[in-house]
Amino acid sequence: MSKKLNFLFEFIEAIRESNIRRVFSEPLGLLGFLLILFLVLIALFASSIAPYSPSDIDIANRLAKPSSEHLFGTDNLGRDVFSRLVFGSRIALTVPILTISFGIVLAIFFGLIAGYSSERVGNMFLVMFDIIKSFPALLFAMTIIALTGSNLFVLIIIIGITRFPAYARLIRAQTLRVKGKEYVVAAKAIGASVFKIMYKHILPNVIGPIFIQAAMDIPVVITFVAALSFLGLGVPPPTPSWGTMIKTGYSFIRIAPWMVIYGGIVLIWATLGFTLFGEALRDNLDPRLNRQR
């Protein structure tokens, strides 16, 4: 337990020593951070912010215009659009985080092996990463989900698989860089197992850049999930999700455009926030860019 805590302290120390402050001193980076923070707060306190339950159906009031009673109007079942958007932020934030975490787990597993094994085996893994990367991800996800039926678990697995090669490539490259370092050789010399070397000695030293890549990927995954939901293949109803709401709004675009407008604004808010913040992170923390600064 104390070891884990130590790791946590080291992590916090590393963050404090790093250039993270520079991220916030950039106006766009700060703006991105604030947009995300606001969104996270909304997701956390959704039940106190939303005036209605997201699933309360009120047929008498269907497709009602935005008013003081329903700030952003109601949808085709009379549900309050504002409340559904507020609750939708939960799915919008958790699905990408789970997806990317799953992708990182896959990447750590395959990336470490690819980097630590012989060049021939490593190249085979590279080819595998290339193959997965060159699938038209959206079309494949569309088909598989259409066949299995939309459910969150499948969604996370599929998108995670399509995203992991980029991280795995990074981990492999970093592993190649550190595997000849003295501390790895020393660990080998005292007889540490391959597993221990990979996870105890190499992993902590190669994982950093992954987080930057992951931060840059969050808006991509948010968009991906929203696009699938828009096609009716993402987050299954009645869970409030932005993509599904935009789809409903699209069906009623001539008589009730508010669903598309407010749903769109919220979605852009999220992707813009994460894009701005991710880029500020990359510009200030990625050691590979330091040369150019």
């Binding site: 699938f135 852009i268 880029e279």
Partner: protein, 313 residues
């Protein structure tokens, strides 16, 4: 260079083959027997047995796979289960619409993005540069399907400037162009921002070259230096990026087609999914993977041709 091309060719081949086999496996795991799907619930067991034999469904799986691959190589993608049309005909009728949409988008994105990026670089750190930067990143952050829906709402529902659906009248070029503008621009939006940023960075890098200083000290105006010298060098990375992006654009085109009810590969596959017409889904996806891999291959090769460092990766 030869080794690089061979490696990329092999990867492309394996990708297409791998994707095809995965597709075959997915279809194997489908709920319901294809023969039953075709014949409907009221078919007698004898008829189902007959159709199964005709479709080779009674043979072992590996034999089915070999036959499946053999048929694809011959250009036979199977038959549509509802209208008995050859899938290849359906796919190749739809394909030009998708390709035209993707090419038009990349053209729009280049025509807007390249001057925007050049301008921003020429007046680096000025107010217009900063506005362009913010605009670019905002355009990148807007998902293309959302851009499609919003464009539809403003330009077609509110302003009624452009038609909302379809691909235009057959044989009427003007009507087809008219129907192309909204989908192509919505698909291009993110790419405008992307190209503008890369162009800006590329021009800035090129401006640090010695020959630019020489030209400037010779008394050439900034405008002349940029147009006569810098642009040529700065365009190379942008062209490479456009090549790589074209594959992704095809993916985005799928949803754009669905939003604007445009004929094309995306609409074909999507509608086939809705009606459980699996041979079309399968055939459409195979062609999509093929197209996607070929475009990526071409882009990678041209990239390797332009930038020798790529080859040694």
């Amino acid at each position: 260079m030869f080794k690089y091309i061979t490696r990329r060719l092999i990867v492309t081949l394996i990708t297409v083959l791998g994707a095809t086999i995965i597709l075959f496996i997915i279809i194997q795991f489908l709920p319901g027997d294809p023969a039953t799907v075709i014949l409907g619930p009221r078919a007698t067991p004898e008829i189902i047995e007959e159709v199964r034999a005709k479709m080779w469904l009674d043979r072992p799986v590996h034999i089915q796979l070999v036959r499946f691959l053999y048929n694809i190589v011959r250009g036979d993608l199977g038959t549509d289960v509802l209208n008995y049309m050859p899938v290849s005909t359906l796919v190749f009728n739809a394909l030009p619409y998708t390709i035209v949409l993707a090419i038009t988008s990349i053209l729009i994105a280049s025509v807007v993005g390249i001057p925007l990026g050049t301008y921003a670089a020429a007046y680096k750190n000025s107010l217009p540069d900063k506005i362009t930067g913010l605009l670019s990143i905002s355009m990148i952050a807007i998902p293309s399907f959302l851009a499609g829906v919003l464009f539809l709402l403003f330009f077609s529902v509110y302003l009624d400037w452009f038609p909302a659906m379809g691909g235009g009248k057959e044989g009427d070029i003007l009507s087809q162009i008219w129907h192309l503008i909204l989908p192509a621009s919505s698909l291009a939006l993110g790419w405008i921002g992307y190209i503008a940023r890369i162009m800006r960075a590329s021009v800035l890098e090129e401006m640090t070259e010695d020959y630019v200083r020489t030209a400037r000290s010779k008394g050439l105006t900034l405008r002349k230096v940029i147009f006569k010298h810098v642009l040529r060098g700065a365009l190379i990375p942008v062209i490479a990026v456009i090549g790589v992006g074209f594959g992704n654009l095809l993916g985005g085109a799928v949803i754009t087609e669905i939003i604007f009810h445009r004929p094309g590969l995306g609409t074909l596959i999507y509608n086939a999914i809705q009606s459980r017409n699996y041979p079309i889904v399968q055939g459409g996806l195979i062609i999509a993977v093929l197209l996607y891999s070929l475009v990526n291959l071409l882009a990678d090769l041209s990239y390797g041709f332009i930038d020798p460092r790529v080859r040694s990766d």
